[in-house]
């Protein structure tokens, strides 16, 4: 749980709250490791994991990383959404590789991934589209990460982003439209 500089997550989050971007960079890998670790841990327990939601992972990570300090929660949730995106995309990549080699994939996140498969969402293509979205509007990207990767409700997204639920809903609707178009044409455009 220690970063290289020996600071605790709570301390780092306090610095993130104070607007320190470097701290956000430092805490990100910790959050990622934690989420990844929890996913692994859940996997090892052979459970009926159909109700597993990414929100569960994020909450668990929050508890483990010193969730006692509630005022940093929104910052944490924003970081965690991005970390969750990394975890899921990494799992998707690994799974695809495993499939190519004819191996059975790991069971846990597979369920989450299969859900998106059933709905015909290609996570890797989506990830690339999100890269492009982030280049255009960081806020809209965050909204997508919070909603799609962390499964927050629009009210929660609004709270974390410091905007009204209505605004969050509009941004989400716009992002969905933009991403749908983007995925349809494979990203060859200007705006």
């Amino acid at each position: 749980m220690n970063s290289g500089s020996g600071e605790s997550v709570t301390e780092l989050l306090a610095r993130v709250a104070a607007g320190d971007d470097q701290a956000a960079e430092a805490v990100f890998p910790l959050v990622y490791d934690e989420l990844h670790g929890i996913a692994q841990h859940l996997m090892s327990r052979e459970r009926g994991d159909h109700t597993l939601q990414t929100t569960a992972l994020v909450n668990e990570a929050w508890l483990r990383l010193g969730g006692a300090n509630a005022e940093n929660r929104d910052h944490f949730v924003r970081l965690a959404a991005r970390a969750m995106r990394r975890v899921l995309v990494d799992h998707a990549r690994k799974r695809n590789a495993a499939k190519r080699q004819g191996q059975r994939a790991q069971p846990l996140l597979t369920d989450v991934l299969e859900f998106w498969d059933d709905r015909q969402v290609d996570l890797l293509a989506l990830d690339e589209a999100l890269e492009r979205l982030g280049e255009r509007d960081e806020d809209v990207l965050r909204v997508v990460e919070l909603r799609f990767f962390s499964g927050l409700t629009l009210a929660e997204v609004g709270q974390v982003m410091g905007m009204s639920e209505r605004k969050a809903g509009l941004a989400w609707t716009f992002a969905r439209g933009w991403l749908r178009r983007e995925l349809q044409r494979g990203g060859a455009h200007d705006a």
Binding site: H41, R45, A56, E60, V112, R136, R176, W178, R181, D190
Partner: protein
């Protein structure tokens, strides 16, 4: 790119807020003749207005409307809502075929993948196979897909329990007697055992899941449902429903809370909580009004409240049974619900139960394990352990008195008594040993908790009330003396002053002495008692130095008495060694105050005698080994301050370090031993420095700093750790100063820079010492050291400051 995106976004978002048929016109107007913008905005608007589930996370709400009476879920017609919880809704419903009444549990969330569907079917089949009169049968279960009428729900159709009340409601309403409650509970155990026999763990045993029907029959509901729906995991439940977990958490076993694998014994724990609540009316660990993280920690760490504290009449068998079911370690619990039931039956039949109250020794061991890293409450827990010993002492004594009454035949009584005394002495001695062993590792917090003071005072009071019971009984009085001494040792050791608890510590020692003197008055010829008194005199004198920091009068009395006792001769080596230690420490104090120029020689003599005696004891006596290790360090320090015997100092410090290394080897977890080790490296560094400033003494200090740095992570507010860390910083600084002077020219930037680092270290060390001093807990030795540190800092400060000025204004310097 960004600009255009922002433009598009605001266009489309504005349009989305308008009535559908005005949107396109608005965009056309807003775009004017920018045709490409208009095209793109209209295109995006179309995409945005498409209503489907693209990228929408799985829905997880139960819509209220479709669950209204009269509506249908699968083959069931809903009659009424029975209850609504965080996770879902329970309904009374009518099944079409066969026509019957069922309880329908509808949970939020569908299944994510096809594989999950298969697993679900399998699990439901297993649950359906559970058939027991005390288990509500699961008839069927299914999933309504997301997008269906219910938007993704899982449902279970279960046996309907008419006129159901929960276990606790039933017991309260019917004002059931204790044995009726136990009889009812036996049915719960049987139901749970039935599931276990078929490999199903309930996972969510709580009073709400134990129903009693109108005829007074137990029906356990939701058997294994938690697994199928995944709600047994704290993380999954937390994710959706904080309020749900509040209802479930108090019944979760420590391993379940910790997210470890669980087995049937987890249900045994939950049964224990339910039985506790059923009998005592409260829960063993009260986690109301605490946040989840704290609650979870308490369930994992905190011992359950003794049932007899809530309801005195539960003392004895039932208390033992409850505590056994509620053991933190699954292996210490009943192996199965059936075993728990058997023990309850034994109690009901008046046969001896299997459960035994945990011994004081076991509790102390538990304490030791929990406090490996010395958490903040160590002091309190240790005192509780002592209090537990005292309580068991009280218990032993009252049963002994009962024996006295019962034994009409004098001989039989005598025999019983002898047997009891042997038993008592061993048991009690062992407990005390364990307590004082861990007392060495006592957490000395920088800001000692006020609770501790109260605990000590309470314990003293308890012991004092026992004095009246002692009634001239020698073995019993001895036990009390030991308890007083152990208590005093537990809260004051390691040479740091304890102003907070000084009165209590000295008071406990005085009580012990008074008891011994009374015993001697009754038996003046006893050598054993004379020895004991000398031992206590020496201890009392040492405590005067330790807790009061040597201040105040009173010390002389004890020193003179110890001297007299030593002169009288014929003392056991351990006691003589302790008396010598007192005389040596007293001499050191005199030397410090510089009133007695010869005092250091006297101290050296007494330490030497102490060491001689301890060397004889050390091979067979673990305590003597510790005392011996410390004694070498103290004598070395005395010699160090005399300066003229650097070789002898070094020899002492090496021996000191080697002995401490052996201690650490014996008990690598001990914070106290590792503090000693760190400090011994500092001492050795100083000794080497004195011997020859040219020798390589730096590594000793660096090693010390390493040890204390790692200790600081483990026990950041531990006095000895803080003090040692500052001491090591100071030493490393001294080594660096020597390097600066040896390797760099006077006034050179390298030298100034190195000295700047040194000054930084010393300032930090100074701050730490001062913060300890501020609460009155800096040891005498370190106090003296602080003065030295300040002087050293002052001597290099001007050099560093000049260097800094030079760096800022290079032209002004020469």
């Amino acid at each position: 790119m960004r600009e255009r995106f922002a433009q598009l976004r605001s266009l489309v978002e504005d349009a989305l807020q308008m009535p559908v048929d005005e949107r396109a016109a608005w965009i056309e107007e807003a775009c004017g003749d920018d045709e490409s913008l208009r095209e793109e905005a209209l295109g995006l608007l179309r995409e945005c207005a498409t209503q489907d589930d693209f990228l929408e996370p799985p829905p997880d709400g139960v819509p209220a409307a479709p669950l209204a009476p009269g509506s249908r879920v699968g083959a069931y017609e809903i009659v009424r809502v029975l209850g609504q919880g965080g996770m879902g809704t329970v309904l009374e419903a009518l099944q079409d075929k066969p026509r019957r009444r069922v309880a329908l549990k509808v949970l939020r969330g569908g299944l994510l993948s096809k594989a999950a569907h298969e697993r679900f079917r399998y699990e439901v089949e297993v649950l359906g196979s559970l058939r027991h009169p005390a288990i509500a049968q699961i008839h069927d279960a299914g999933v309504e897909e997301a997008g269906g009428a219910l938007g993704g729900v899982t449902w279970f159709a279960m046996e309907f329990v008419p006129d159901a009340a929960t276990l606790l409601e039933h017991a309260t309403h019917k004002s059931l007697s204790r044995s009726d409650r136990l009889a009812l509970f036996l049915h719960v155990c049987e139901a749970i055992e039935h599931g276990h026999q078929r490999g199903v763990i309930h996972r969510d045993v709580k009073p709400e899941n134990v129903l009693v029907d109108g005829e007074g029959r137990v029906k356990v509901i939701d058997f294994g449902v938690a697994r199928v729906t995944d709600s047994e995991s704290i993380e999954a439940t937390l994710a959706t429903q904080a309020d749900e977990i509040v209802g479930t958490l108090p019944y979760m076993s420590p391993e379940q809370v910790a997210g470890k694998p669980i087995d049937t014994r987890s249900d045994v724990y939950a049964l224990g909580v339910v039985l506790y609540e059923l009998l005592a009316g409260e829960r063993p660990i009260d986690v109301r009004r605490t946040d989840l993280v704290t609650s979870a920690r308490r369930i994992i760490e905190e011992a359950p409240r003794r049932p007899s504290e809530v309801r005195p009449e539960l003392k004895g068998d039932l208390e033992a049974i409850l505590l056994k079911a509620l053991e933190k370690e699954p292996a210490r619990r009943y192996g199965s619900a059936a075993q728990l039931a058997d023990d309850i039956r034994r109690h009901l039949d008046g046969r001896p139960v299997e459960a035994r109250p945990p011994s004081a020794l076991y509790q102390v061991r538990l304490f030791a394990r929990r406090n490996r890293a010395l958490v903040g409450s160590a002091l309190v827990v240790l005192l509780i352990a002592i209090a537990a010993t005292v309580i068991s002492l009280q218990f032993a004594f009252s049963s002994k008195r009962a024996e006295k009454r019962a034994g009409d035949e004098a001989k039989e009584a005598e025999r019983q008594r002898d047997r009891f005394e042997v038993l008592f002495a061993t048991q009690f001695g062992q407990s005390m040993d364990a307590v004082s062993k861990h007392a060495r590792d006592m957490m000395l917090l920088l800001d000692g908790p006020p609770v501790a003071k109260r605990m000590i005072a309470d314990t003293i009071e308890r012991l004092q009330s026992l004095e009246a019971d002692a009634d001239g009984d020698r073995a019993f009085t001895r036990g009390l003396v030991d308890a007083y001494v152990a208590l005093a040792d537990a809260v004051s050791s390691h040479g740091n002053p304890e102003p907070n608890v000084a009165d209590e510590v000295l008071g406990a020692m005085d009580r012990a002495l008074t008891l011994v003197q009374a015993m001697r008055a009754a038996d003046p010829g006893s050598e054993e008692l004379r020895h004991l008194e000398t031992d206590l005199v020496a201890r009392r004198g040492l405590k005067t130095i330790v807790v009061g920091g040597g201040k105040g009068g009173g010390l002389r009395v004890w020193v003179e008495r110890a001297k007299k006792a030593l002169d009288a001769g014929e003392l056991p080596a351990g006691i003589a060694a302790r008396a010598n230690l007192l005389l040596a420490k007293d001499a050191v104090l005199q030397a410090r105050s510089q009133l007695a120029p010869k005092a250091r020689d006297a101290a050296d003599r007494y330490f030497t005698e102490q060491i001689r005696l301890l060397e004889g004891l050390a091979p067979t006596d673990a305590d003597a080994r510790i005392d011996l290790a410390v004694a070498y360090g103290e004598r070395g320090l005395t010699r160090h301050h005399k300066i003229i015997r650097p070789k002898a100092t070094e020899a002492d410090m090496r021996r000191h370090r080697n002995l401490v290394l052996a201690l650490v080897d014996e008990d690598p977890d001990s914070v106290y031993f590792r503090c000693l080790l760190g400090r011994s490296f500092c001492y050795l560094g100083h000794a080497l420095m004195n011997l020859d400033p040219g020798t390589a003494f730096a590594p000793s200090f660096e090693r010390a700093l390493e040890i204390f740095s790692s200790l600081r992570e483990e026990a950041p507010r531990h006095l000895l750790v803080l003090q040692g860390y500052a001491f090591a910083l100071q030493g490393v600084g001294q080594a660096e100063t020597a390097t600066a002077i040896r390797d760099h020219k006077k006034g050179s930037p390298e030298r100034v820079q190195l000295l700047e680092t040194v000054l930084g270290r010393w300032r930090r060390a100074q701050q730490i010492f001062e913060s300890i001093d501020a609460v009155g807990r800096l040891s005498l030795e370190m106090k003296q050291n602080l003065t030295k540190l300040r002087a050293m800092g002052a001597s290099i400060e001007p050099i560093v400051r000049r260097g800094a000025t030079k760096r800022e204004n290079p032209k002004n310097g020469k």
